[in-house]
Symmetry: C2
Subunit: 355 residues, 2 copies
DNA sequence: CATTCTCTTGGGAGCGCTCCCACGTGCGGG
DNA sequence: CCCGCACGTGGGAGCGCTCCCAAGAGAATG
């Protein structure tokens, strides 16, 4: 493995000049630069990361930390799209994005990663993809004053985050179902300990109350954001309730896909017997008939903005805290009872929120 | 940020002793150890990663590199299970596993990651999850003598890898369909540039030929390992062929799930009109009726073994090259025409290969 | 023509660890 | 009683960079 010093000797300049060339410092004569670059190329020299970070006190690497809860449902296109958005944003920057996954099987795994990777300064900052409300990592990062950005807002702490207004979005969706005339509206929500689930449930309740209706507990099920979970949730609701719902608000498209299949297996027609409204706006779930009405959220952007926010934080620590809400919109298609099947992409639009 | 030296002063010992405590070196008196540990805890001291790697010449971090082709189909439970297996194996070791994703949108992103993360020694070694046959990274790693393990065999190079014998597995699966008496057997394969697809196709052809049948090109479709892709592949096959198949071998359960839906939407019964055999043995795809017959492969193990192999490589460079095939088995359920629906888990078993 | 400035360049002093060698100290055996 | 040998311990010498300051060569200024 070659060092800076050796490259310097080979090209007849000093260590400092080679360092300047490597770091694109303008204070190098064209002649010297050319010579050094030739040697670097010829020797296939690549600077040692550890030495660099030790001397410069940064690594130019940022982490995307995926919490256990998420790891399990990694299969949801939601996460894959989000991750892709984040990775792409990382690639377009000067930073390299690396993904850290916790499996959650051992309590000290998280601690290990935190110490050995985060606090030891292997990364300059982290984007957290957790959404489990009580995730202890948030406290820890705050206490240690380590730079981080949450994807999904935090209920208590004033931390940097990027999110959509899930409450408002869910409210809009349920209000739309109410406008259709549905009255027994049920909900398949995500896990009760995720902020997104909590907010979406609150939006559902808000809408129902505005319409003067009390949400029926028999029509509320928490599931796990998987297709299978959606299927089972719908199945159990139909099995246990004497009076089935006339519409369902489902907190993710992936679960909605399971819900649609459960309804079909139960012999119920969508939207005639039961209307369905999803959440996410994933292209992946458009396989099924009837085409799913849903709340579109800019998932890819969510990932990208999270990364951008972190980089901004790293390079301008003096900036104000970042608390960004991205816009959402309803995509009204067949499954909620709206007109003829509308081709993918063409959509009716309602409000959204942004700061 | 505290340093070793400061901890040493605070606990009245030398830098060396603190280092020994941190690294679990037995050559420290109980008294000193106790004192130092107290100070470390009290000060919340965590050693600097860069300084450590610079001095010790290793990082104790390994990378899981996910190639662009894979990134797109990250939603396939196959990958999420594989990744979980790898992450878990990493957690159980002394290493930390970090995931690197290439998006493939820019040709030099891969180069950047390679230089800035791999060759710069940010990681001690990498596990490659690529399977695109001509992935240039393999050459590069080989040339640079950087430690790596492939998940999925390599057609040309003698490299370390972990895989199953896809050819034999596919052959077994198709032979089973032939035993049922099906004769017009079609295949929905994965992308033609992935080694797994190539091997599974070869197995399919082998089986057909052994039964004295020429595979019908009209019944061969390459798809992309997604549910949607499977749906479309089946749809287009049914649309274009005058004589539909009586059985389908599908190169992944996720695609098979799409195939089942396409058949249903086409008014064909499974297995009566068309039998279906999947590949992977994912629990996630068991939602659908009829329950899918499939080839089970130990996906989680594949990830774990990849990581173990790499660690072995790092700690015992003198060991022989690792080329490991894990066992597979047929899981015969309803969709291939086998008896009554068999409860999940209970399975008929056939051969497998292992070294 | 002396003075100031700009442009390039070189090298010292770390960054915070690990690794190795040397130095006590106290013990048992010859 | 002395020698050798463990056992703890301390400190020097790096690891391969970045950052800063100094210095020399010209160019520009009065």
């Amino acid at each position: 493995m070659l060092t800076l010093e050796e490259i310097a000797q080979l090209s007849g300049v000093s260590r400092s000049t080679v360092s300047r060339v490597v770091n694109d410092d303008p204070r190098v004569s064209p002649a010297a630069r050319e010579r050094v670059e030739a040697v670097i190329k010829e020797q296939n020299y690549i600077p040692n990361a550890a030495a660099r970070s030790l001397a410069s006190r940064r690594t130019r690497i940022i982490g995307l930390l995926i919490s256990p809860s998420v790891g399990v449902i990694l299969t949801d296109p939601f996460f894959s799209v989000l991750i892709q958005g984040a990775v792409r944003a990382g690639n377009d920057s000067d930073y390299i994005l690396t993904i850290l996954m916790e499996t959650g099987d051992s309590p000290d795994t998280a601690d290990r990663i935190y110490r050995r990777f985060i606090r030891s300064r292997h990364v300059d900052g982290v984007v957290i993809l957790s959404s489990v409300v009580e995730d202890p990592i948030v406290e820890r990062l705050k206490d240690d004053r380590f730079p981080f950005v949450l994807i999904g807002r935090h209920p208590h702490h004033a931390v940097n985050f990027v999110d959509i207004d899930n409450r408002a979005a869910a409210r809009d969706a349920v209000l739309h179902l109410l406008e259709h005339g549905y009255r027994r509206i049920g909900i398949v929500d995500g896990p009760a300990n995720m902020i997104a689930s909590i907010d979406r449930y609150a939006g559902y309740v808000n809408a129902m109350q505005e319409a003067g209706r009390m949400p029926d507990p028999a029509l509320t099920v928490h599931s796990d954001f998987t297709r299978r979970g959606g299927y089972r949730a719908m199945q159990s609701m139909l099995d246990t309730t004497s009076e089935p719902p006339d519409a369902m608000f489902v907190a993710s498209d992936t679960m909605a896909s399971g819900v649609l299949q459960a309804l079909r297996d139960f012999g119920l027609r969508v939207p005639d017997d039961v209307a369905v409204m999803g959440f996410d706006g994933l292209e992946e779930t458009l396989v099924s008939q009837p085409i799913l009405s849903t709340v579109y959220q800019p998932i890819r952007d969510l990932g990208a903005q999270g990364v951008h926010a972190l980089i901004d934080l790293l390079e301008h620590p003096e900036h104000a805290p970042i608390q960004r809400f991205l816009p959402f919109r309803l995509q009204l298609r067949r499954s909620c009872g709206c007109g003829a099947p509308i081709p993918t992409g063409t959509t009716t639009t309602t409000g959204g929120v942004a700061h």
